[in-house]
């Protein structure tokens, strides 16, 4: 009898949990649904509040493509996301390896200073970075968007934690087998840390893809990346909702595709980073 009661109550609790989760996911998914629904409405129905976009129309997409080089913007954003993520991974890997595998004077102090840069708000470094880019002649270039992001305290922090739990005997074994520290990094550490590197890489690529503020500062005269392209549909006389939603919808697609293919790694990335 007792077991039945316990079984029933646990089933009810599980059902309750599912209802809550279902409601929460509805709240999360609805804005995205609305974005695509609006982008597929006919131009005269854009402000309609009907849940189903009917009749369907691709007019907003046609207009978005006519007004902006959407494909070019997507490619540029992809370039920024990929180079920014790869660059951050490389810098973070080298720094984290040095901090975890080597012993040198002031190591702890240097590490704390490195990680401390994470606590400095973006707004505090924004202007010095902007002035520096201006002197280097990198304003209005994609390189200007990428370079200041390359040293990521988050990446160093996460990879160093991974490397600290990395079996030191493997590094010793590689040295006994004749590898130098540099060679051991590429032939032993990197292949073993592949899941962690993939997870961090995805996390960095997604955040670079979604970045708006910094590209907006560097690329003031162009709409080279897609998040900036959205600006062109927003005007003082009102917003052009149809093409705005169509472009935003297109901007989300690569992230969704990445998510579908690498679902496990992405969840892993967020769990590992302990963020969001």
């Amino acid at each position: 009898m007792t077991t039945e009661v316990v079984g029933e109550s646990s089933r009810a609790r599980r059902l309750g949990g599912h209802v809550v989760l279902g409601l929460l996911s509805l709240v999360c998914v609805f804005p995205i649904y609305w974005l695509y629904a609006t982008s597929l409405r006919a131009p005269q129905d854009v402000s309609s509040l009907s849940v189903l976009p009917w009749p369907l129309s691709t007019a907003s997409y046609t207009e978005a493509f006519a007004k902006n080089d959407v494909l070019g913007m997507l490619v540029n954003t992809g370039v920024v996301a990929v180079f920014s993520a790869l660059g951050q991974l490389l810098v973070a890997l080298l720094a984290a390896y040095a901090f975890a595998a080597w012993r040198f004077p002031f190591q702890r102090l240097l590490y704390l200073m490195f990680v401390g840069t994470w606590l400095v708000p973006f707004q505090a470094t924004m202007l010095p970075n902007y002035v520096l880019l201006s002197r280097l002649g990198l304003l209005e270039t994609l390189a200007g968007v990428i370079v200041p992001t390359l040293c990521s305290a988050l990446g160093v922090l996460l990879l160093r934690e991974h490397l600290n739990s990395f079996p030191k005997e493997l590094l010793d074994a590689a040295r006994m087998d004749g590898r130098t520290s540099w060679s051991a990094l590429w032939t032993v550490v990197v292949p073993t840390l592949r899941p962690a590197l993939a997870a961090l890489g995805i996390l960095l690529a997604i955040s670079a893809w979604n970045e708006y503020f910094w590209p907006a500062m560097v690329l003031q005269r162009s709409n080279a990346v897609v998040q900036l392209g959205l600006r062109s549909f927003m005007g003082t006389e009102g917003n052009d909702w149809g093409p705005l939603m169509a472009t935003a919808g297109l901007a989300c697609l690569p992230v969704f595709a990445l998510y579908l293919v690498l679902q496990r790694h992405i969840v892993n990335a967020f769990v590992r980073s302990g963020l969001k």
């Binding site: 079996p167 493997l170 074994a173 590689a174 006994m176 004749g178 590898r179 130098t180």
Partner: protein, 366 residues
């Protein structure tokens, strides 16, 4: 030529001296076991020989080459780690071939050498597997294979059997010993397991608190321990050690303490001297009460299968007796324990070092 020589090798970590002024001469082809309790410095010493840890002081030679300051990759030694340290992303074949790929040997040569080593270690069917798909014993053999494949001047092994279960450990112990007999490569083997040390070593270096306590063949270390530490570290149960006084009575030396009277069988006339008296549990015999010996009370009898161990109490000291089963005593029984004079060990009460004495020849009981 892979004789290994250590001279005054010392390693300090801050105020702690892990290895203190170590001098050893390991002959070519020898199987030297570094034995000692946890924290005695044996792994630190091995890592210094490997080149993974620079010594604070002292020098180190491999053959005629001074390797004190050479990095591990330039020393002709291979190491087997306690955790095996197999590269998890590589197959068994790639793990074994890893040191050869580092040395940029031709592929065909690597393949042939890996196949040869795999056949020696019975790994041929497992070459395509990843380490995570192997049992503990198989991983251990792959780690051995990775060391073997290089044909090194010396093998360094850091407790390679400690992660195996008892049965596998016994089997692998025999395999390593057999491999050494076949290859005759100088081997330095670290363990805290006295059975491994006794069965595999050509010589044992017993370490205590970073210092060399005794160096000798397994028989020498067991039969003539150089100190109380060596006496009580080797042997199970440990050697019985009691405080006693050596006294000359009627021109014959004997050891005395409360409830203890044992003849040392030496004719001499010396002033009384406090000592520590040691006798192994298997050298104690049960004799009829009243005669000279150690008077004790049995507190427990442990059944080891073929043998029994009687735990006894003699005054305030615990004494154990080991013999073929059944010993014929029960818990609570008063017994007298005797030992032949040549089975008694005397140690200095202050330094704990062995006192040399000449035992008189004792006729075997008829």
């Amino acid at each position: 030529m892979s004789r290994i020589r250590l001279q005054g090798l010392t390693r300090r970590f801050g105020a702690v001296t892990a290895v203190d002024d170590m001098g050893l001469d390991i002959a070519d082809g020898e199987f030297l076991v570094l034995l000692g309790p946890s924290g005695c410095g044996k792994s630190t010493l091995l890592r210094m020989i490997a080149g993974l840890l620079p010594p604070t002081e002292g020098r180190l030679w491999l053959g005629d080459t001074d390797i004190t300051h050479l990095p591990p990759q330039r020393r002709d030694v291979a190491m087997v780690f306690q955790s095996y340290a197999l590269y998890p992303h590589l197959s068994v074949a790639s793990n074994i071939g890893f040191p050869l790929r580092t040395r940029k040997r031709p592929r065909a040569e690597i393949r042939a050498k890996v196949a040869e080593v795999a056949a020696t270690l019975d790994l041929t069917g497992l070459l395509d597997r990843k380490p995570r798909e192997l049992s503990g014993g198989q991983r251990q053999r792959v780690a051995l294979g990775r060391a073997l494949v290089r044909d090194p001047g010396a093998f360094l092994m850091d407790e390679p059997l400690s992660n195996l279960d008892a049965k596998l450990r016994a089997g692998t112990r025999a395999e390593i010993a057999e491999l050494h007999r076949r290859l005759r490569t100088t081997t330095v083997y670290v363990t805290h397991d006295q059975v491994e040390a006794m069965t595999m070593a050509t010589r044992i270096a017993l370490l205590n608190e970073g210092r060399l306590e005794q160096l000798g063949t397994p028989s020498e270390v067991y039969d003539a321990p150089a100190s109380v530490f060596a006496a009580t570290f080797l042997g199970s149960p440990a050697m019985n050690v009691v405080d006693a006084t050596v006294r000359s009575v009627d021109g014959v030396l004997r050891a005395e303490a409360e409830g203890l009277l044992l003849s040392l069988g030496i004719e001499a006339d010396i002033p009384d001297r406090p000592v520590r008296l040691g006798v192994r549990p298997e050298h104690l015999t049960l004799t009829p009460a009243g005669k000279q010996g150690i008077r004790a009370v049995v507190t427990a009898v442990e059944n080891l299968g073929s043998e029994e161990v009687a735990q006894c109490r003699a005054g305030h000291t615990a004494v154990s007796v080991r013999g073929p089963r059944p010993l014929g005593v029960t818990s609570g029984e008063a017994v007298t324990l005797a030992a032949r004079p040549d089975r008694l060990h005397l140690f200095d009460q202050n330094s704990g070092r062995r006192l040399a004495w000449q035992a008189a020849s004792v006729p075997e009981p008829v």
